[in-house]
Each structure stands twice: as structure tokens, then as C-alpha cells.
Amino acid sequence: MRDPRFRAILEERKRLLRETYARQPGFTRAVVEDLHVASFHRGEFFESEKASAPYLLFRALRLMWVGDAFFAQVCYRARMSMKAKGIPILPRILHKVSMITAQMSIDELVYMHPGVFIAHGQVVIGGATEIMSGCFIAPWVSIGLQSGSVYGPPIGHRVFVGSGAKLLGQLTVGDEAVIAAQAMVSEDVPAGVTVAGVPARPVRSK
């Protein structure tokens, strides 16, 4: 028998999945934005608005080759747009590919806005959360949920998530916040504040 505790959660998950698929960004737009943000963080700035399509393709292929996680991120984007179109099997294979190539395991419930930079991979993101554009996500990060809920923590614009940081449960992280390395965040982080430690405490604010 199914645990009745989980039944409500599964129902909610199904509903949220439908919502997430309905508002997925287009594949091309998402990849171009990701490319733009990744290039900016890598110090290879270029103006993607003025660039021609072949040049963008060249930049994307180049970043897939030289970047640790960009290929996996493109796989993730492809997987989500396929899921939104209802294509079976292939999304799961793309998920395995992004796990194998960059240890990236991002749940289908997650809504990643276009323009997120994942530095090297090694991230686990789960739950119904939203990651705004301009975020920087370092390795060994978990952004996820606590048992008994499907809601993860929404992350604001241009947030820096340091190496090894864990953000768990229903909290919100404000715009331009900084999560220090190895921080364990279980409470809300206001905009522009730096938090560090286990459990994380504010150490600096803008």
C-alpha cells in the first residue's frame, strides 16, 4: 500500500510538474542566455544581442568543449523542453548524460530561469523551486527539500552559491545574496546579505 502521507505530496507534485512544463523557457533562448551568463562569469564577455546565429552556435560549442558543466546544462535544457513537449524516454537519457558528464542532477520540478551559471557541475537541485537568472552555482551544492514537502528554496537574481553550500527546505534567498562555502542554510536570507556557517548566520550586508 502507498503511504497515505505521501499520496497528497505525489498529487501536488503532479500538479506542480504540469505548471513547470507549461512555463519552460524555449530551448534556444535558454541556451543563449546561459551562454551569455557563463561567458560573463568566465571573463569571456561578448554581446549576445548583436551576435549572429552561427557565431552564437560557435560560442556554445566552444563552451561545451572547454567548460566543465555547460554540455550537461545544455542537456538539461534539451531535456526540459522535450519534457514540456511530452517526448518520452529521451529526457531520461539526457538526465543520465548530465549526471555522467558533470554530476548534475536537477529535478524536473525545478524551474531554472534562462541565464544561470553552473561552474563545474556537481549540483543536486530538487523540489518545486525557482532559480532566477544571473545565479552562480559552485560545485558540491545541494538545493533541495526537507522530507514531507515538495517545495524547495527559491533563489533570487544574481545570487552567489559557494562551494559545498546546502540550502534546504522552504526558505527564500533574496536578490544578490551570497551564500558562503560549506554554509548550511535553513532560514530565509534577505537580499544582499552574506551568510556563512553551519547553521548559516549573516556575516555581512550590502
Binding site: M99, I100, S105, S142, Q182, M184
Partner: protein, 199 residues
């Protein structure tokens, strides 16, 4: 002379560990049931055919279950003295879900590896009903090969590190990013760096 006896000791140790490890089919069935129940899915399998179907389904939908089954297969094959294949299965575990489990580890049946990304090494024992989150290390401190003994129904949070010859009591909760270097009693929540018990 002493080197030979070292080798014999090592063999005896491995034989001893092999005897304590669960049989493949029973272990995979219990793992599948526990994984399904933790995922909020039907955990009671109706027949042998249903069991096989559910195991294959979990290998497809769950991040780490394929690696988990490969690990069970690997311990079974190395118990039977089959060469090369166990090492290949270990490589598969590391590739598919970054699960790296050493030869000295005894995993009781019925364990849930949430997404993979774990390192377990040394003489470690993991009890039934344990949930292991991503980025967990259960391993050694320098100078000893005795690793942690984790009791039944322990929940290990994401990024937690349990190192050295410590004992984790049953039904304990290890918080995210905790670094455990001392014994944790039963039913206690431990958090922080170094980990301390919460009330």
C-alpha cells in the same frame, strides 16, 4: 614472513566481510522496497514478476538505484571469486551516479541512496533503513582502517561527513553539512561542525 601473514590476515578479513554481506537477490528486493517507500511509491511487490519489473522501473526513474544494484552485484561476484567484473561494476557505479563504495563496507539490505554522489570507505557497516543523501562521506581518519558503524534507520543529511571509528545510534538524524567525529547516541539529531547533539 610477516608480509605473508599480512596477506593472510587481509584474505581472512575479506572472507569475514563477504560472509556478513547479504545475498544479492534478497538485498536488491529489500533495497527496491525501501527506495520505493521513500519515494512515496507502492512498496509492496505482488509477485516475483512484479518485483523484477519494479526493480527495472526504479533503475530507470531513480538517480542512483542502477548504481546501487551494480554495487550489490559487485559484492556478490567478488564473493564468488570472479575477477575483473566487480571492478568494472565499480566503475559503472562511479560513472552513473558517482557512488564509490569501498571493499570493506558492509551494507545491510534496505538502504536508500537518494541521488548518489557518496563515498564510503574503510571497515564501515551501514544498517537497514538508512537514507544516504548526496555529497556524503562515510570514511576514515588517518591511522586506522576502522570506519563508522551506522545503526538502523539513520537519516544522513546532504553534505554530512562521518569519519573515524564512531558509532551512530539507531534512528539518529545527521544534519546537512555536519562533520561527525564522535559517537552519536540513539534517536539524536546531530548538527554542526564538529557535530553536536540537539535537544
Amino acid at each position: 614472513m610477516s608480509e605473508i601473514s599480512d596477506k593472510q590476515m587481509r584474505r581472512a578479513l575479506i572472507r569475514d566481510l563477504d560472509l556478513r554481506r547479504p545475498a544479492f537477490a534478497a538485498a536488491v528486493k529489500l533495497d527496491a522496497q525501501f527506495t520505493a517507500s521513500q519515494r512515496g511509491e507502492r512498496a509492496e511487490f505482488r509477485s516475483a514478476r512484479d518485483t523484477v519489473f519494479q526493480i527495472i522501473r526504479l533503475m530507470w526513474v531513480s538517480d542512483a538505484f542502477a548504481a546501487h544494484v551494480a554495487y550489490r552485484m559487485r559484492t556478490e561476484l567478488s564473493r564468488r571469486g570472479i575477477p575483473i567484473l566487480p571492478r568494472l561494476l565499480h566503475r559503472f557505479c562511479m560513472r552513473s551516479a558517482q557512488v564509490s563504495i569501498g571493499e570493506g563496507v558492509v551494507m545491510q539490505p534496505g538502504i536508500y541512496i537518494v541521488h548518489g554522489q557518496i563515498v564510503l570507505d574503510g571497515l564501515v557497516e551501514i544498517g537497514t533503513g538508512t537514507v544516504i543523501s548526496p555529497w556524503v562521506t562515510i570514511g576514515l581518519r588517518g591511522g586506522s582502517i576502522q570506519g563508522p558503524v551506522v545503526g538502523n534507520d539513520v537519516h544522513i543529511g546532504t553534505g554530512a561527513k562521518i569519519i573515524g571509528p564512531v558509532t551512530i545510534g539507531r534512528e539518529a538524524l545527521i544534519g546537512a553539512n555536519a562533520v561527525v567525529t564522535r559517537d552519536i547516541p540513539e534517536r539524536v539529531t546531530a548538527v554542526g561542525m564538529p557535530a553536536r547533539a540537539l535537544e
